[in-house]
């Protein structure tokens, strides 16, 4: 049974079970009397055992069997002690190792743990001991379908065809439903609501005890609702079968390949549309049809790749628990916004930087219990990991309520290293981040409370930039520190504003464009000896694209459009020669050659076939 196809499936599914095991163990640890986690754990480990035995991975199956035996004694009425839970945590870790090992061709039993498991299992075994069945022939697994489904309904909603802005109406209906319970499995993803061609049909799962009549009334109270269907009757595709969450597993590489091809298709589409513009022949009509189909295809694939951030977030509660044990600190770890969705490719890149930021928060941000109590804080420190949607990006924050970063010490250090002029009196958040992200900053042990942050911040900043996002830090002495990682919802295809400077064209991702205004010489002022522009009562520092890229060709035009870039709270006014409209662009990531200016984030091919550089807004503000 060494079919590689099954091996991959086994690995993917086992990892899901292990992730669930960690979550369940954490829940169990919080409430040792709860029975739900025990049953969940039993099912997960039992499934792993069955799969491993089928694959012929006897060491994995054996380990799972013994862990299961320990759980059996708890189900038989034995009380859960912290030691027992810790033993199971270790077992889950060992299972993970054994599973990865088995998949890589090394099916070996873990050292030491088996005996401990057996000892605990036999010590608490109820009268008839668990059958000593060999692990390779596990007891027949009960039907996998026994997993208890969440309470609630699959709800399908159709907004009236004649209603204006069906997407916004759909969002209202969804919000009304949310007053009754938790919404999951939203299809299409919420981003579709912003599209002008959203067809008004969507479905979601609502976890609630409310009866169908009440759900329907709530949804209809949003207005313009043509129909509400439930469960088996929910049909999203007019001609397709009921949506009832039929799923297949697809290798991510295939989706990646598809995304790339669609990217190229979008560029070709843009060129085609450009080419036939103003041509009222049948060709132009066909081009419009193709254009719409490509847009649909594109958003379909993007949605397919959308994954809730909990996929990554879920691994951290366990990590923080272990960190707290190692550091001897009391840490309450909270997660918010786990159901916010991101492109899988971006999500995969976030594990590392978040790991570093969370580790820093636990290690350096939070004080020891005694130190906290001495300043009147609760002994238990708090770390919050949260995700929120902002326009077309997602902000992920790691906050701690620890000691904050000592600005004076950092400023002194920045001056010593020549990062700040001697005359600088206050350390801005931006400068702080630059200092923290200095490679090798960590070795400076003399700055208490921050040493060690360097590596993590450097990794997080680098990753954020590479994804077209940004990293911010806010800190308050005694109150804590928050790192904010902003990333776009999806990679590859973004909507961009095209701007001209000299003879070159540049693309600015729309995510970061707050508005465009006309450069008004009368509104020019100075901000900390830099030129700035007053826009709607806000003083915004300016950057002239011509100066930045040293464009000489063509005289500076009389009228100068200005793009207000916005990254988080910060703004910059980018003065350009001309604005050339919007376009979907495909970002071609390039390995930045040494010495390439940081404000360039990539390259793209425009609709007319000419290349253009992409400006990295985060590096400009």
């Amino acid at each position: 049974m060494a079919d590689p196809k099954y091996a991959a499936l086994f690995l993917a599914e086992s990892r899901e079970h292990l992730r669930a095991c960690n979550q369940l163990l954490l829940a169990w640890e919080r409430d040792a009397a709860a029975s739900e986690p025990v049953n969940g754990l039993f099912r997960a480990i039992h499934n792993i055992k069955g799969m491993a035995a089928t694959m012929g991975y006897s060491a994995v199956a054996d380990l799972a069997h013994r862990a299961e035996s320990v759980l059996e004694t708890v189900r038989g009425g034995r009380a859960a002690t912290p030691e027992l839970i810790q033993l199971l945590f270790r077992s889950v870790d060992a299972l993970e190792k054994a599973i990865e090992g088995a998949a890589a061709g090394k099916d070996e039993p873990p050292a030491g743990l088996l005996a401990a498991l057996d000892r605990v299992a036999s010590a608490g075994a109820p009268a008839p001991a668990a059958p000593g069945a060999s692990a390779a022939t596990p007891p027949v697994a009960r039907a996998a379908g026994v997993r208890k489904g969440p309470v609630g309904h699959l709800v399908g909603v159709t907004i009236r065809g004649a209603a204006p802005m069906r997407g916004a109406r759909a969002l209202l209906a969804l919000q009304r439903a949310e007053t009754l319970g938790r919404v999951t499995a939203l299809r299409p993803a919420a981003v579709a609501f912003e599209r002008e061609d959203f067809d008004g049909r969507f479905s979601f799962h609502l976890r609630t005890d409310a009866p169908k009549e009440q759900i329907e009334a709530a949804v209809r109270s949003a207005g313009e609702v043509a129909a509400v269907a439930f469960d088996g009757n929910v049909v999203i595709e007019a001609e397709g079968p009921a949506v009832a969450a039929r799923q297949i597993r697809v290798d991510l590489h295939r989706l990646d390949a598809m995304m790339k091809q669609v990217g190229e298709l979008v560029v070709a589409r843009n060129r085609l549309v450009e080419r036939v513009r103003g041509d009222d022949s049948e060709v132009s009509e066909l081009a419009a049809v193709i254009s719409r189909l490509v847009s649909d295809l594109q958003s379909e694939i993007v949605e397919m790749r959308m994954t809730p951030v909990s996929e990554v977030f879920d691994r951290f509660p366990r990590l923080v628990r272990d960190l707290a044990r190692d550091l001897g600190k009391q840490i309450r770890f909270e997660v918010e916004g786990g159901d916010i969705e991101l492109d899988r490719a971006i999500l995969d890149e976030l594990g590392d930087p978040l790991l570093h930021l969370i580790r820093n928060a636990a290690d350096h941000g939070l004080e020891a219990a005694a130190e906290r109590e001495a300043v009147g804080k609760p002994a238990e420190g708090r770390i919050l990991l949260s995700a929120t949607r902002e326009r077309r990006s997602v902000a992920i924050r790691v906050s701690d309520d620890g000691r904050g970063i000592d600005r004076a010490a950092i400023l002194a250090k920045a001056k010593r290293e020549g990062l700040a002029d001697a005359g600088v009196a206050t350390l801005t958040d931006d400068l702080l981040l630059r200092v923290l992200a200095r490679p090798g900053f960590t070795t400076a042990a003399q700055v208490s409370g921050v040493s060690g942050r360097g590596v993590g911040v450097e990794v997080a900043l680098g990753r954020a930039r590479a994804l077209g996002g940004s990293l911010d830090v806010q800190t308050e002495p005694g109150r804590g520190t928050t790192f904010t990682l902003r990333v776009p919802l999806t990679l590859a295809i973004v909507r961009a504003l095209l701007a001209q400077a000299g003879e070159e064209r540049y693309a600015v991702p729309l995510v970061y464009v707050a508005e465009t205004v006309e450069f008004d010489a009368r509104a020019v002022t100075a901000l900390r000896s830099r030129e700035a522009l007053v826009v709607r009562d806000r003083v915004i520092p300016t950057v002239h694209l011509r100066d930045l890229v040293a464009a000489r060709a063509g005289g500076e035009p009389a009228r100068r459009p200005t793009i207000i870039l916005e990254v988080g709270e910060r703004r910059t006014a980018l003065v350009v020669d001309a604005l050339l409209g919007q376009q979907d662009i495909v970002i071609e990531p390039f390995d930045a050659p040494r010495g390439m200016p940081p404000y360039l984030g990539g390259a793209t091919i425009l609709a007319d076939g000419a290349p253009a550089l992409i400006l990295d807004a985060a590096a400009l503000v």
């Binding site: 204006p164 802005m165 997407g167 916004a168 969002l171 209202l172 919000q175 609501f193 912003e194 599209r195 002008e196 959203f198 109270s221 949003a222 207005g223 949607r389 326009r391 709607r536 009562d537």
Partner: protein, 120 residues
């Protein structure tokens, strides 16, 4: 007792039109604002039962005004007035706390339906 309304739009024409529609239906227009900033201030002073809010206004746009007002009063009942093609902005406004929306050009019946939904 009739419901009180604050009408926010930077165009006098639109303010007049919305006020007329609502007046005729028996609502009491207690104030008008021509910018987001004014809308936030007047909301604080007047505590109206309903706010109609244009999206694009000088000195703080409608969406930011919604955010500010909802920060002060999470139960604020705000109806967005939007133009065609602003769906993404309307979605953002709803996420910020707006309770419903109408799309220009206004039909009195549509406006009143939306108002009833918001107040109901």
């Amino acid at each position: 007792m009739s419901h009180t309304v604050l009408v926010c739009d930077d165009a006098i024409f639109m303010r007049t039109m919305i006020s007329d529609i609502l007046n005729q239906a028996g609502f009491e227009i207690v104030g008008e604002a021509e910018s987001g900033l004014q809308a936030v201030q007047k909301y604080r002073e007047l505590k109206p039962d309903l706010v109609t809010m244009d999206i694009v206004m000088p000195d703080m746009g409608g969406i930011e005004a919604v955010r500010e007002i909802c920060k002060q009063d999470p139960d604020a009942k705000i109806l967005m007035c939007s133009a065609m093609g602003q769906q993404a902005l309307v979605v953002e406004a709803i996420q910020a706390g707006a309770k419903d929306f109408v799309v220009k050009p206004f039909q009195p019946s549509r406006v009143l339906e939306a108002v009833q939904r918001v107040l109901g």
